[in-house]
Structures are given as C-alpha cells and as structure tokens.
Symmetry: C2
Subunit: 283 residues, 2 copies
Amino acid sequence: MLSNHKLYAYLHEEILPLESAYLHVSDLAIQRGYGIFDFFKTHHGQPLFLEDYLNRFYASALLMGLEVPLSEEELVATITGLIQMNGLSESGVKMLLTGGYSENGYNPGPPNLIMMEQPLTLPSEAQVATGIKVITHEYVRELAAAKTINYIVGIKLIQQVKAKGADDVLYHQKGVVSEFPRSNFFLVKEDNTILTPAHEILKGITRKNVLELAGKKYRVEEGTVTLDDIAQAKEAFMTSTTKRVLPIVEVDGNPIGDGKPGTVSLDLLQDLIALEEAQITAV
Amino acid sequence: MLSNHKLYAYLHEEILPLESAYLHVSDLAIQRGYGIFDFFKTHHGQPLFLEDYLNRFYASALLMGLEVPLSEEELVATITGLIQMNGLSESGVKMLLTGGYSENGYNPGPPNLIMMEQPLTLPSEAQVATGIKVITHEYVRELAAAKTINYIVGIKLIQQVKAKGADDVLYHQKGVVSEFPRSNFFLVKEDNTILTPAHEILKGITRKNVLELAGKKYRVEEGTVTLDDIAQAKEAFMTSTTKRVLPIVEVDGNPIGDGKPGTVSLDLLQDLIALEEAQITAV
C-alpha cells in the first residue's frame, strides 16, 4: 500500500515527485561527501520538536560553512507544503544541504537543499520487549558536533555488525564511549543514576528530551562513560528520533544487567511517548 | 574555447553528455557520503600509469565493500571510448563508485559507477619557480588507505587556508605528519636524504613514481616524519597526479631552507616529466 503511495520531495526551489529528484554528478556530496542534514519525524501529520531540529540544521550548516538558501520561515513553509502534499500520518522528514555544484570538483558552489519524506515505523512493542544487541568499535566521528553526511565508518561496519548477530555498533576511543552512528547512548547505574556521554557526540534531540524527562525522576549525569561503566551497568539504552528509547540487552556478547530490558529504560520510553503525544495539536 | 568543448561522461552503462549526468537523491554518496574514486591524467590523449590507478580503484572498492560493476577489461574499454569521445589531449579522468541507490538511506544498493573527464592544466613553470605556502592542521584521514570521497575536513579548511594566504594544508597528528588532502608530502634533509611519511596516508601513484626515481640518485626513506623534521629540512615538496612535484617554500609562515624551490625537488620534477613522456606511445 505505502509502496504505491506517490511521494514528493523538494529540490531546486520546487516540490516535485521524489522519483524525479536528481542531482548533477558535479554536486560536492557526490564528488567529496560534503554536506549536512537533519531528520525529524511527524506524528498525525505534525512535525515533532521541529524548532530543535531546525536550530541544529542551521548550526550544522554554519559549522561547515554552508549557507541555507531559505530563511527559517521559508523552510517551515516548505516543510508544511511538502507534508501536505505527501499526506503521510507517521513519517520521517530529511533536510539535506550539500556543498552544491562544484566547478572544479573541490570548491563548494551555492548549496543544494533537498527535502525528502518517507513513511516511518517506530520500534514495535515486541522489539522494545526484546531489546537490541550491540558491538563496539574504536572510532570517533570527525567534526562530531555537526550532523554531516559522513557515515563511511558506520556503513562500512554494517556487514561486521550483521556477522556478529548484532543490531548496531557503539563507538569508543580508548575505552571512552561516545555514540552510535545514528543514536546516542545511555546507561543506568546500580543506584538508578542515568549516565550519558557528554563529549565527541552529536547532541540528539531525543537525547535532550530524555535527559529532561529523566531529570524529573532520577539523578542524571552527562560526562565520561567508559566500557568499564557498561560492564557494571544495570541497564542501557539508545535514543534517537526513529528509535525513541530502545533497550540494549547485550554489548560485545556480554549481557547488560539480567540481559532483559530494564524498568528505568521502559519507564523513560513511556514518558517520551507521553511527551510526543502532548506535542500534537488537537485537530 | 575549452568551455565550449562538449564533454561526455559515463553513467548507468552509457556514455552521455556530462551536462545530463545526474544521480537520484537516494544515492548513498548524497545520503551518507559513501563512495570511493580514483583519478588519473592523460597526456597526448593517452592515460598515464593507468594500471596503477585501476589497481588502487579496485583496492579502495574492496576495502569499502563496494563491487565495481565492470571487469578491468570492460573498464579500460569504457575509458578508451570516453577519451575518444571527448577528444581532449591533456585531461584528468575521474572514476567514481558510490554506495548506490539506497532503499532506506543507509544500506548500500548496487553501486553506481560514474566516469568524468575534464581538461587539465598542470602547474606552470612560473608556479613551480615560485613554490607554494602551506599551513598545518591536526587531523588524520579516516580509513586513510582507501581513496574514499570523504573530504569534509579538507573542504571545511579551504577558507582557513585562504585567510592565511596559503595554498594548501598539511595534516599531522601530535606532530607526526601524514599528507595533504589530495597530495603526498616529501622533504629533503641537509644530506640530500629524501623522506616521506609511510603511515596513515593514501599511497599516491606519483609518490610511488617519485620514490622510484629518487632511489636512483639519492638515499630514500619512508618512515615517520615530524614537524621538527620539517623545521630542519633543506627542501620540501608535494606530489600528486595534477601537481606532479611542486616545491613547498613555507610551512606555517616559516621558510623551508632558503625559502626558494630546492635543486633536488626541481631535479625530481624533471625526472618525473621525462618518465611521463616515456609512457607515451608514438602515434
């Protein structure tokens, strides 16, 4: 059904069928992997926490020296138009800004802005109840504070993650944990303190929301998290726009706590779902 | 004149006008900066050292888990066809292999192979006689042995290089020098020993040719090169396909030797030019 749903995208100042959205090969994303993006979700056709995602999008663009060709007001109007055209209730919207068409294949041109929307399925209750298994890998993202399109290490590792029967890969440097390719990492200590890495990470919007929610009920620390901390943890979970709060039950083959999703993790997921629902304007 | 020269490219199994070479936005180079490439030059319409570049192209693809959709024989036939169509005497040919059209914006699809050819101007005698100024920056390329399309750091630094009145940026990590974004680094010691970094670099084809040529006349070392070594050096130069041997006269505002292109550097450039000429089959 959804595969027959005709989707539209935004490119070169117009909304056009997604299937017709093409970039010339001189674009600096293709030539040199140069670009930034952001990604938010809609619920009942309404963007969630849009302001936060827009702020991060403009901040990433600034960090990478790319000028967003639309003002925030124009961007919101375009997003609204695109969402109306697509008519999806639950979706993910990607805003992508590339280094533009480059004359010499190295120096940026005027940036190309692309917006795409796709149907989104959040983790099912069964997936949450099972939790996920992860492996670790020594790596720290370049320019971690900017949401660049550079995922060469994460994508190269897909086969390795699969071969080990895992669902994702957690980055660390000399035992100091940072993040997943597309998600943030949290653990819950024996005393219910909630700990998440503070440095060399992309600051997720879901991470921010979960920190706020957690702060109302638990002790919360942003700081240094090590692989040793994980070995001692009672619970662990990842956060992201598409994963919300997803329990981690195994790291490098070793169970976290009793090897089942923990009560604090599941409690925070319920709080996040309630926060998301509360964002929706009654129609 | 050249700007009116109609250029052709290869994409999706056909040779087509470069101006019509477009990739769908779902391509993993656009979505996630995932791809590899290589770049060789032609002289009198003939590729130079093609076998070396093809070997590195296939090696980069293998390292990144991408399958080149053409055999080496088919690739050579395509290159030959493209060069004939374009009719350029002196050119650069780029072969680019992306992660392909991705269903979910993360997992690779069948790779897209693109070939582009552009007119190429090598450094003039005046540029060689002037030499270049460079700055340094602490960074080491991810997966340095593969020629990936990830240049986010190099391109982000363009403005900084320009602001400092320099021509390029040399990467080092804790004082250990590796390479330029697109070139290798060499220095000449007081005793005429030629030294170049051995690790965390892309092994340039021009680097390899220069090492071979230098080995016939001078003592040559591949090893660890530090910023201190640069401070003591008599000469320095960069090597690449498009720069050949280009003297470096200043690093971070400090002159190399007497601040002028050195005799060993200029001697090696002449040897390289002779080697290139010797590759050309008489027509």
